[in-house]
Amino acid sequence: MSLKGYIVKRVIYIVPVMLGITLLNFTLINVSPGDPVLVRLGLLKCETPECYNTAYNKEAIQMGLLNNEMYTVPWFERYVDFVNDLLHFDLGRSWYNTQAGLGIPISQLISERAVYTITLNILSFIFSLLLATAIGVVSATRQNSIWDRSLTVAMLLGYSMPLFWLAKLLMLLSYSLFNFTGVANKDAFKTPLFLNPNFYKYLILPTLALTLGGLVFMARLVRSQLLEILRQDYVTTAKAKGLDNRAVVYKHAFRNGLLPIVTIIGNSLPGLLSGSVMVESVFGWPGLGTLFLEGALFRDYPLMMATNTIFPLLFLIARLLTDITYVFIDPRIKY
């Protein structure tokens, strides 16, 4: 099979997993106690029961719980409807984010906010990967030196520090040093976004927090993988034939250590996404994570449903990319 065929196969494989995920989300909403229509209506004040009933029925029809003849729509029909809408990128309207009394379409909200999350995540992912590699190589090649020990202890402390608290401490530190809390405000997001210096100013702290969060996790991994490989016979051979240390580490050891590292990082991406939700929320960064948390706090069901579908999709795409990078890292891999 060609590489193209492999990619097509992997893309098709996403479909059943996504179906499972949407089914899980859908079932959870359906088995949860309480009437979503009542949640939607919230504190609706009505003088007469008729007014209330009309509002209730109108809402229920709009949500697709009742059909026009006032019969309950069976759940599988609603599920098919939901998936059908999803395929047309129609995610419904938000309950909480409204404009002129009407909910903003969720696909519009997500496409507006996604750019912030993606910028933040890609930037911090690249930084943490580079730093983790550097730290891992330094620790592994100088095992048990003072550098290795202090770095290991620092990584362990960072690993045990809850990410949201790390973000808060960074905020405190930055506030006491520069009188700048890093909480995003309006002028950070003026268009054109990528030419706006304020955007980068407010990007620093969230990126730093998320980088540290990913870094402590990856550096431990790089170190232990590299240590295992440096003990292999072919590394000894390479040293014995007089290769300098740098070439041994980067050409022989590191390349072989990459594969398990990429696997574990690929599998840990949901954790990194969760981390992004925490950091975004602490710094008020208006990405998908904040959108989701706001939606959750105000019980905005359609929005939560949509973000809960988007996040796994992002993860599956990211994992697809890691699987494809395998092929480039290791020529032995058959696809």
Partner: protein
């Protein structure tokens, strides 16, 4: 020739004195005493063990003290009205033993629930070592009594997760076939969803459920329902490799039932990975629950570190001691369990040691 060979052989097996002594002490020792010896040598592991033991002691003592105090108050043994929140016996944690003057029991410290309006936002001092919060509650008392809920959540959450994972992983690993296939697909789906986000989604949906134990009981039930994937995968692969081994084959030839093979042979051999999963997992569960509470999805009425952190997180810049101490304790707990777990992993499975 023969003499040279002998000499080489001797040379090869010549060990230094330290190793020989080590072998001598390990002779006849069981697996667990060897593991214990290895942990004792690991300074970081011992530090982790001390932290964990200290926290468990703290949780137990605070739980018992709170029970005793509630009992004393409700049994009307002390002077004062149990129904009046401002009454002395409701404001403090007291100790009392029969024969003691009921109007003058030993007062230990402030009750974590009762508020002293005139003592709010006090910085750490001799009287309040951790300061007081905005409601006038003593932070030391809050942190001390928060230990029992925080740790209990970690333990219960991880134990239920591991039990579900072990049962499902054993079935899939032992019988294989269609059960295994279905299980793998389910894990695939659960693994594709960021756990923290899925937990928030579920907590919001099931906010109205009333079951004994309050909001955290709901959280634990769903946490264990979605979190068992990792354990199940590890146990499953362990079963796959163990069931092909000769000792299982021999037992089967002797006519042992499946149940006997699973419970007497394969499960005891999977104990090492299980212990590692539990210790490292508790750190993760405590972190997850603290994170959920931090973002407002905990139980605001509970006394736990995560909920205190949530309440005072915005006071970090003006009254740093309020959120700092609960956060510090979460950090130490996670650190202790991580250190202990790493050390246990090295001791139980030296092949993994770096």
């Amino acid at each position: 020739m023969a003499t040279i060979d002998k000499k080489v052989e001797k040379e090869e097996f010549l060990l230094d004195e330290k190793t020989l002594r080590e072998i001598e002490t390990m002779k006849g020792a069981g697996q667990w005493s060897i593991v214990w010896r290895r942990i004792k040598k690991d300074k970081m592991g011992m530090l982790g063990l001390y932290i964990v033991l200290f926290l468990i002691m703290m949780a137990l003592v605070s739980w018992i003290l709170l029970l005793v105090d509630d009992w004393l108050t409700n049994a009307n043994l002390l002077l004062g009205d149990p129904n009046n929140p401002a009454s002395l016996n409701n404001l403090y944690i007291e100790l009392w033993y029969p024969g003691m003057d009921t109007s003058n029991p030993i007062v230990l410290f402030q009750h974590p629930r009762y508020q002293f309006a005139d003592q709010s936002t006090l910085p750490p001092s001799w009287e309040h070592p951790f300061g007081t919060d905005r409601l006038g509650q003593d932070m030391l008392s809050r942190v001390f009594f928060g230990a029992s809920v925080s740790l209990a959540l970690g333990f219960i959450g991880q134990m239920t997760t591991v039990i579900i994972g072990t049962v499902l992983g054993s079935i899939a690993g032992f019988y294989g076939g269609i059960v295994d296939n279905v299980l793998q697909r389910v894990i695939e789906i659960l693994y594709s969803m960021p756990g923290f986000i899925l937990m928030i989604f579920i907590i919001v949906l099931f906010e109205d459920v009333k079951i004994p134990g309050g909001k955290y009981a709901v959280v634990i039930v769903f946490f264990s329902l979605i979190g068992w994937g990792g354990t199940a995968l590890i146990i499953r692969s362990n079963f796959f490799s163990l069931k092909e081994q000769d000792f299982v084959e021999a037992e089967r030839a002797l006519g042992a039932s499946d149940m006997r093979i699973i419970f007497r042979h394969i499960l005891p051999n999977s104990l090492a990975p299980l212990i590692i999963i539990i210790t490292l997992g508790i750190a993760n569960v405590i972190f997850t629950f603290a994170a959920l509470a931090f973002f407002g999805f905990g139980d605001p009425n509970a006394i736990s570190w995560g909920d205190d952190l949530n309440k005072w997180q915005n006071n970090l810049l003006d009254y740093p001691w309020m959120p700092m101490f609960p956060a510090l304790f979460i950090f130490f707990t996670v650190l202790g369990f991580n250190l202990l777990g790493d050390s246990l992993r090295d001791a139980l499975d030296p092949r993994l040691k770096d």
